[in-house]
Amino acid sequence: MSMSRRGGRYRNVDTAELNITAFMNLMVILVPFLLMTAVFSRLAILELNLPGSSNEPVDQQELTFQLEVIIRKSRIEVGDRNLGALGVYPRPEGSDYDYEALSKKLSELKVRYPDKTDAAILLESDIPYDTLVQVMDRVRVAEVIEEDRVVRNDLFPDISIGELTVLDGGA
């Protein structure tokens, strides 16, 4: 009975008068608030594991493969601590380092030494932080395009950082 009466009333009124003022107030407040607090840049972290200040014994330098990536002002070198350089990637004049070639070389090394997970990055003291992060990215993962998707393969995720003495003239 009551249902039919209500339905009849609605048919007569041309627009349904829903009181949405309170809802609108809420929205008007909520939207600017959320817009202000929204963060559109996502932050992530790169983890480093440095030896603590405790007197842990330095592990023996065995004659195994010790990957080193050396960043100089003029070039990037990939090498083995015991054997020396395995690849040198000079920086083209006036442009950025050749990260593509570095990435390719590191992928090759990963195929040869699949169990190796650690690497050392040595850099001159004037190298900007940004360069360090870019090289760390290339050492950590390799990006391969497979079937229209970017696949990330772990290379050497355990990175340690060291300093290099600046060479005069460049050997």
Binding site: T15, E17, I20, F23, M24, M27, V28, L30, V31, L34, L35, T37, A38, V39, S41, R42, L43, A44, I45, L46, E47, L48, N49, L50, P51, G52, S53, S54, L123, E124, S125, D126, I127, P128, Y129, D130, L132, V133, Q134, M136, D137, R140, V141, E143, I145, D148, R149, V150, R152, I161, E163
Partner: protein
């Protein structure tokens, strides 16, 4: 007055589309802001971009701008002063890190010295020399695990794929 009132009653403002937009926007923003940002929003420094995916954790934060070193929001040292100094130790920073011990550290990390964590947010243009001094001071202050904060970016190669299509 009378006339306006009459007209207003006749043509009700159509708010349906506005409500639709607001509702969608509110839900989008609510979902978007659900993951809590741990790191402070630093507008004065430009973080380097990286493809790293590890989420930031609740740790002590050291912010290195071009002029100041800031620990948990309080400036502790001037960069120019540190750069002119020899040696790796920054006494002001070490002092500040020591005083952080009980307040911010995770409970289980308080005892475990090697497990203490610190996050360094550095401007992308700072030289490694400065970063090294800060990191050396961190390890000297018994913060064994250092994380570098970076801005997450999507892969460079995604652009190549879309270009190839």
């Amino acid at each position: 007055m009378e006339r306006r009132h009459n007209r207003g009653k006749g043509t009700a403002l159509n708010l349906v589309s506005l409500m639709d937009i607001f509702t969608i926007l509110v839900f989008f923003l609510l979902v978007n802001s659900s993951d809590v940002e741990v790191l402070p929003n630093a507008k004065e420094i430009q973080l380097p971009e990286s493809i790293a995916e590890v989420k930031a954790k609740e740790t002590v934060v050291i912010l290195i701008s071009e002029t100041h070193i800031i620990v948990q929001g309080t400036p502790v040292a001037l960069v120019a002063e540190i750069m002119s100094r020899k040696g790796n130790d920054i006494p002001e920073l070490r002092q500040a890190l020591k005083s952080q011990n009980d307040r911010v550290l995770r409970r289980e990390a308080q005892d475990d010295i090697a497990g203490r964590e610190v996050t360094i947010m550095g401007d992308k243009d700072i030289p490694y020399r400065l970063l090294k001094k800060v990191m050396a001071t961190c390890t000297a202050s018994d913060y064994g695990r250092i994380s570098l904060a970076v801005l997450q970016k999507s892969s460079d190669k995604l652009g190549n794929i879309t270009a190839a299509r």
